[in-house]
Symmetry: C2
Subunit: 374 residues, 2 copies
């Protein structure tokens, strides 16, 4: 009993906001200035995996991220998370070994901290016997704001709240609600330096003269309409709100001083491609959203995937050998020359502008993959 | 007497807004949703020239733009302008020959319609005996909104007003007020298609959820501060307001649906260069503003020109043979390696990204260059 090791492995998903979180009310507690809504992506294609073991034999807490040991004391948010769990279950005194990794390349520029913290919290929850989702969401939020949304599958809303206890996420619908919905991530080759989102967000709150108006007057109505669009599976409404909110988030970044810019010329060509494609087909069949980086996350129903990807492959040809690809095979369709001709009037071909494509769908929340004691 | 020809030649300047005009209250009258403030650029470097002759011998009104005859009836705004003048001076019944051209290439993507209409109105004013600046400003506004500001030199404010008679520009200070101020225009090579600003502006008013907040809550305070900064020649305050307002205008364009984007990757590199340069020297010495296109218009005091252009020449090297250059020679300075090293951390060298450079200053309003009767 004295040298027993208890071990838990959890997997947790990435989530992509369709109504964006941008701006904190409280930097330490990570409470936001507005509600946000996200889609949880399938764990099969993108996920964080965390294994935690606990044993009276361990001399100290230890943490490895993607194989490299990190100094826990230097990671304030991680230390804070561990303290919170220990405060909740003071009877558990043994040390922990935490190993975390992502199944997607960090070079892809996809926010991995949300999945990472949701995963850590799920594994700790399992180990410490805490299973209340709201409580886990609050704990995840304090690691990385949007991690509180990765605690659930399907579509999720994060309520801004007034303090730490009222700022948590809840599921709007689960991952089985809208089975035809697909997600395609276009990973954009980027040579410019990023502004870390934590500092950029802080600067926006301090300097943008539009951000409060967005938080107080625009987002509440958009969240209401977005919930409704998701519940009724109204793709056109969902798509328009998603695109408008992505645009407004980048508008706020630009209204920051000095300005913050995440979308580059290729991102903008993808925007042109999508509006052009929707114009060509005569209704809104594809939606884009961009996070704090140049990559495009696209939503569409399954029947559009093959047709739309013809356009992507034409205007953004990629070297298949170098390309990162994840997910299911994309359905093959014959080329529609009328569409290509129409889009050629709006955008130019961009060689080697994409680094990879991920084809995925809406998925479940964190899973406990393995539990063992020996 | 019956075959007398009376001829007038006017020259008028380009103006660049430092508090931006974006959005109309009335599409036909061209009254804006907010006040705007501009700097008039020197007529020696950029100007429109219009020659109008009037004679009882002429059978019909005729119009040539940059040497090519245009059909007046197809140009609603021009027809409207001529009607207005004829209504004011109904005793003048003879027909007109109008020849207009710009001394800067249209390919430069610099707004030429403001200079063009201010020039037309000045020449017509001279010919029809109308010299009241307010009245000329109102007439110019109806040709091209911001033309109402090119009726004056120095710094100029356009009052939004409530109707056509109250929406006009007035001079804040004349062209001799701030003699050390310099303007450098970096003309950016651009391969993408532009969205015409008239339609983009209309779409912003219809779809942006931030534009009214900007017009009603942000701009009035900014105009007040800008007037003060100009009157006191407070470069730092002037520069910060100019940059913030340029950023906010592009934020509104991005918040439009579908979004409108004028600044490309090179424009953004210029933004990075300027914030980096200001960081390096420790205070705000250079300001940028971008209109509805990718070109940067920079303001700085004369003592910065040589030092700053070292950085421009390093990071945006141009093929001198192909380069369009106008204005006075730029003072030569020795390279500051510390500055180059510092900026290299923020931006990459962009070969062939500039098409030209214009080095100019604040200038006077329209001039009647020649008047003759024979």
């Amino acid at each position: 009993m004295a040298n027993q090791v208890k071990k838990v492995t959890a997997r947790a998903p990435v989530n992509i906001a369709v109504i964006k979180y941008w701006g904190k009310n409280d930097e330490k507690l990570i409470t936001p200035i507005n509600n946000s809504i996200s889609a949880t992506l399938s764990i099969d294609d993108l996920c964080a995996t965390t294994t935690i073991s606990i044993s009276p034999m361990y001399q100290a807490d230890q943490f490895w991220l993607n194989g490299e040991e990190q100094t826990i004391s230097e990671n304030k948010r991680l230390s804070h998370c561990l303290q919170k769990f220990r405060a909740l279950k003071s009877e558990i005194k043994d040390h922990l070994k935490i190993e975390s990794h992502n199944n997607f390349p960090t070079a892809a520029g996809l926010a991995s901290s949300a999945a990472g913290y949701a995963c850590l919290i799920s594994a700790l929850g399992s180990l410490f016997g805490i299973s209340d989702s709201k409580q886990l969401s609050i704990l995840a939020r304090q690691g990385s704001g949007s991690a509180c949304r990765s605690v659930y599958g399907g579509f999720v809303e994060w309520f801004a709240g007034n303090d730490s206890e009222t700022s948590f996420a809840a599921q709007i619908v689960d991952e089985n609600h809208w089975p035809s919905l697909r997600v395609i991530i276009l990973i954009v080759n980027d040579k410019e330096k990023d502004v870390p989102s934590t500092s950029a967000m802080k600067r926006s709150v301090e300097t943008s003269e539009l951000i409060r108006h967005r938080a107080e007057n625009v987002v509440p109505e958009r969240c209401k309409k977005m919930r409704e669009a998701i519940k009724t599976k109204d793709f056109e409404k969902f798509a328009e709100l998603t695109m408008k909110d992505s645009n407004q988030f980048h508008a706020i970044a630009q209204d920051t001083y000095p300005p913050v810019r995440y979308m580059n010329d290729v991102s903008w060509s993808i925007v042109s491609l999508i509006h052009g494609y929707n114009d060509f087909v005569g209704s809104t069949k594809v939606a884009y959203t961009f996070d704090a980086g140049p990559n495009a996350v696209l939503f569409m129903e399954e029947d559009q995937v093959g047709k739309f990807m013809i356009a992507v492959n034409h205007f953004f040809p990629i070297n298949q050998l170098d390309c990162l690809f994840r997910g299911q095979p994309i359905p093959k369709e014959t080329i529609n020359q009328g569409m290509i001709d129409y889009l050629s009037k709006k955008i130019n071909i961009k060689e080697d502008s994409l680094k990879g494509i991920i084809y995925t769908k809406i998925g479940c929340g964190p899973k406990i993959a393995a539990q063992e004691s020996n």
